[in-house]
Amino acid sequence: MSSALLIEQVLNGLQFGVMLFLMAAGLTLIFGVMGVINLAHGSLYMVGAFACAAVAAYTGSFWLGLVASLAAAAAAGAIVEVTVIRRLYSRDHLDQVLATFALILIFSEGTRWVFGSFPLYLDIPPVLQGAVSLPGGAQYQLYRLAIIAAGLVVAIGLYLLISRTRLGMRIRAGESDREMIGALGVDIASLNTIVFALGAALAGLAGALVGALQSVQVGMGEPVLILAFVVIVIGGIGSIKGALIGAILVGVVDTMGRFLLPQLLTLFMEPSQAATAGAAIASMLIYIVMAFILAVRPKGLFAVNA
């Protein structure tokens, strides 16, 4: 195994992790501040991807599409918060899960109604097309590097927002004690809407970035949503830092598992058996990691209210 291959796989893991972070950051904020389990977060990811694909196809510019994805997902998030989620804060988690599951169905069928069942095609912008040479002789897709960079910029931005601004202070206060900041005169209703829209915008951004790499289709958000839940459980619910570390951990473990396990098994198995068995174990790997981390730290790596 060459070092070039190893470097490439680590980058793949990082890119996957960063993409999961964009999803998980919103999810963990919404759960941390409002105590709502939002299954419809994957739908907001899909809304972002479709908005980007539609606007990019209409205007010919990926960048306008990216702006549209942020705007559309944030708007969808704000509307959902005001019309549905707001009524769920005092209810238990089962009601929240049922209502947000209904939202998934509404978003999916609504999108199918507007765009049809066939996948849309979103092009990578011309400046980011092709591959670049990395030290060690590896070739790497430029667009994936751009996703890593974008994700890290968002992570730094979120850190500054939460630790340095008044809004961030309110978010942190809301995570510690919702009733108290309400009593202190903070407009908790608009804070909730802002946090929800922010989380939705991040999911929409992730959807648009990934849409150009994969295909934009109905139901694209749900597989990512499950992984995003794994990330926030590992990282500790409500913690942005936990979401970042958890996402990169999940991304790297999943990628390396898929790559290394089949090779490891060839040492004592036939190649084709090793390939199937390795693929099967690799798909379980992140859940095994999650179980292990929860056994050691039941509230996750960076629990907010630990």
Partner: protein, 378 residues
């Protein structure tokens, strides 16, 4: 007076079509939502086109969406067989769903006609007189490509498929005929959308060619990422990876790619010409091989229904097995295990009037039968 006239008219109508008087109820379970929806929609549209063309008013088709979930497909099948009392079930796209549904359904005496999935288990020892596969056995197209690969001097192919029955069948089929060495063999998750890990392995393996089977959205994602990764190793696939349903989304990266299929829109026969024109007129797009399998399945059912009543199971089964219908594949017959014996072609992706499509460049197999037929005691 009026009443007598109406009664006479009714009697006249009743006697005018004796063979068709028996109503025939068909249940179609297929994937109409999620990433695999394109395949199910094509199967449904092809099937319904043939029924519409026949003008047969005694056939009732109930269509339901399985969302590509085995448990949902089983529920729908139970409902259709138990309470809707359908005579024939059809439509399933995916082999893992077919494995969950078909054995139970045919065991209860209902006919199942496969419009796509052809898992090896159902072609061999577990074959059943009530199960007919009108599409192919899963290995077939891959065998054809493995066979063709030998003739174009690839010696070190990297092979890739999802980890589910059709995926393992695919690579088994390819390896059955391919004589060169393997640069690598990788199974991915079903529904996987990011192939960066696998592409890195292909690059590092020093392969001279790549053979992949990734149906639906998976193939689109793979090809898009592959063309952007700065890798120039040529790719090949079965027809599924490069058919009409995915070509538009894959884009120009697909031009020149060789793929195998038991049908192509440029096959030169009257039934096929009529079908391609009718499909285009009805749905305003070109048909895919999935649509074609739906169309052929419906025409097979129509041909059997014209000969025998579905209530007489033995006669209807014999009529199905005869397969006397105008297949758009030109010729079509069933082997002992009720799977097709047919020609398999190699096609190349071209751009025609600004639309990506396929043309036939070679015939890989003539009258090809699957490798499992000998294990079937029928």
């Amino acid at each position: 007076m009026k009443r007598i006239a109406a009664a006479a008219l009714g009697l006249g109508l009743a006697f005018s079509s004796p063979a068709m008087a028996e109503p025939l109820k068909i249940g179609m379970i297929t994937t109409l939502s999620g990433g695999g929806a394109g395949l199910g929609i094509d199967i449904r549209d092809g099937f319904l086109l043939a029924i519409k063309q026949s003008g047969n008013k005694d056939i009732k088709v109930i269509v339901e969406d399985d969302a590509q979930k085995p448990e949902l497909a089983v529920q729908i099948a139970d409902k259709m067989v138990q309470s809707e009392k359908v005579d024939i079930l059809t439509g399933i796209v995916w082999s893992n769903l077919a494995m969950a549904v078909v054995p139970g359904v045919v065991g209860q005496g209902t006919f199942y006609l496969s419009t796509n999935a052809g898992p090896s288990a159902l072609a061999g020892a577990k074959c059943n007189p009530n199960y007919f596969n009108v599409a192919y056995q899963n290995d077939n197209l891959h065998e054809a490509m493995g066979n063709y690969t030998n003739t174009i001097n690839y010696k070190k192919t990297f092979i890739l498929a999802p980890n589910y029955p059709a995926g393992t069948d695919a690579l088994t089929g390819f390896k059955r005929f391919y004589k060169g060495a393997l640069a690598g063999e990788v199974y991915t998750k079903v529904g996987q959308t990011d192939y960066a890990t696998e592409i890195a392995q292909i690059r590092a393996s020093g392969a001279d060619s790549v053979y992949f089977f990734l149906p639906g959205g998976m193939g689109i994602a793979f090809m898009k990422q592959y063309s952007q990764s700065g890798i120039s190793t040529p790719v090949m696939g079965p027809g599924f990876s490069f058919d009409q349903d995915v070509l538009g989304a894959v884009g120009d990266a697909a031009i020149g790619v060789k793929n195998s299929s038991h049908w192509s829109k440029d096959l030169d026969n009257a039934a096929n010409k009529k079908y391609v024109a009718a499909f285009k007129a009805e749905y305003n797009r070109l048909p895919s091989l999935y649509a074609t399998q739906g169309y052929d399945t419906a025409n097979l059912i129509l041909s059997a229904a014209a000969k025998a009543s579905v209530k007489d199971k033995d006669a209807f089964r014999a009529a199905l097995k005869e397969a006397k219908f105008d297949s758009v594949r030109g010729k079509f017959k069933f082997g002992n295990n009720n799977h097709p014996i047919q020609d398999i072609y190699v096609r190349e992706v071209i751009k025609e009037d600004g639309v990506l499509t396929n043309k036939i460049i070679a015939t890989s197999f003539t009258d090809h039968q699957d490798a499992y037929a000998k294990d079937c005691k029928m």
